[in-house]
């Protein structure tokens, strides 16, 4: 049995070059045409799955370049996962190896973060707004797995938010916060100061340590903590 499956597997990879003599001639029609259903199915399905992960990148690259890069990726990195949900995991790294323009790698990485946020498991938050009163300088925060911070020289977040109009990527420094509000992924563009503060908290620094390294006004601090609690971006302290 193993040899039949190996022949079949090899013939899909090398279609249309392999001989198909391990298969019976069909009672009508052309064997190669019928086998092409299997050989052509993989790139079609994986490309469709890739476009569910990367919504913006194909629009920026244009159809021809997207199909060239996406096609090369699924051909050179065959799926080893049982789920097409994981198909885009190593696409940014693949783009790096292909030496494409850095901005496309940035966008691919950004969209992958969106994807991870969408699929992350959310923990039940135990915090309420009143808990702000219990927070002191020694408090550390527990962040949801769906929360990501993204920094880039390109305005990936802003472009992603406008992806359904005519998105144009610009060379503009940008800091963004990605989180999930119930089932929807939310992207917020934040100030550098807030970004660095959140990065420190997410890395495990206490509130006091984060404030030592990153000065914030009392008003801004209160607003940020209230936001983190009300949107359940943090689920515990």
């Amino acid at each position: 049995m193993r040899s039949d499956l190996n022949y079949f597997d090899h013939a899909i990879s090398n279609f249309p070059d392999d001989a198909l003599d391990f298969l019976r001639p069909p009672h009508r029609g052309d064997l190669k045409e019928k086998f092409s259903i299997y050989a052509n199915g993989y790139p079609l399905r994986t490309q469709t799955a890739m476009e569910e992960v990367f919504e913006l990148l194909p629009k920026l690259l244009g159809e021809k370049e997207w199909h060239h890069l996406g096609g090369a990726y699924v051909r050179l990195r065959p799926s080893t996962s049982y789920s097409l949900n994981h198909i885009g995991e190593s696409f940014p790294e693949f783009l790096s190896q292909m030496e494409v323009a850095h901005r496309w790698i940035v966008v691919a990485n950004f969209e992958l973060k969106i994807w991870h946020s969408f699929h992350a498991y959310q923990k039940e938050s135990t915090l309420r707004s009143d808990d702000l009163a219990h927070i002191d300088m020694g408090t550390r925060f527990l962040f949801q797995d769906s929360m990501f911070l993204f920094e880039s020289k390109w305005n990936a977040a802003e472009t992603w938010k406008g992806r359904n109009s005519r998105p144009v990527l610009k060379n503009r420094k940008e800091y963004s916060l990605i989180f999930r509000d119930r089932d929807a992924v939310i992207v917020e563009i934040v100030e550098k100061n807030s970004f660095e503060f959140l990065t420190l908290l997410k890395t495990g620094f206490t509130l006091g340590e984060a404030l030592d390294k990153n000065v914030m006004t009392a008003e801004n601090l209160s607003k940020t903590l209230h936001h983190l609690i009300s949107k359940e971006i943090i689920y515990g302290i």
């Binding site: 049995m1 299997y38 799926s79 969408f118 992350a120 999930r180």
Partner: protein, 278 residues
Amino acid sequence: MKSFGHKGVGLRPPHYKDILSNPSSVDWCEVISENYMDTGGRPLSTLLKVREMLPIALHGVSLNIGSSDVLNRDYLKNLKLLVEGIEPFIVSDHLCWTGIEKRNWHDLLPLPMNESTVDSLVSRIDQVQETLGRRIALENISTYVRFQSDELDEADFIRLVVERADCDLLLDVNNVFVNSVNHNFDPYEYLKKMPADRVVQYHLAGHTDKGDFLFDTHDAEVSDPVWDLFQFTWNKIGARPFLIEWDDKIPEFERLVQEVEKANEMTKGLRAEKEYAI
């Protein structure tokens, strides 16, 4: 024991809102298992909400039961977690392979139909059922090619596998018809050979006529010859939960429900209906 009617649909994201707002339009839903594994996002939260209202069948596409690779332990572990969380009335996959040497072609590939394949399948199905702690059902797939090493016809192959492996059969009536055209056999004789006591569910779907062969596209309404076969199957094998699979060019939910109702109408006046118990 609860019982429910036969009418089911494959739950797909474009219909999430419809099914949540009008769950009584069908009796049960089937979902693709892998789409709800490794995710804590909208798909799973929707499935949990639907599960509160309707019975669910889990239908996998990547068990890879026919492969020569060892069974994927991570896959089975995650499937078991999903089964425990959803408590489906049926857990099914396909009588096929999807890849070897860890590659996954994400396709339902045909198996050589011979004793050696049957032996391998029986052992692997046993491992899966042991791991999940329950019976699984396997679906007959549509195929476009046959192996030189085939020794059994498809109906005999399927019957041998389900009987020796002590598993159930998800009978896809459209696939029987597609294969009967593609491989030149009588679909009615095929259905007569199916082990009725193993059949737990029916699938119906549309296909595309490519001239020299039929392509199982799931992108259209059920064709007339498949409706005829479905009625024959209902008479011959009996009442079972059935569903319409519509995975491409997905129509409005109302249109899908119309197709389900059409199937339901066709079963009336046939063999006495029995409710399916869970």
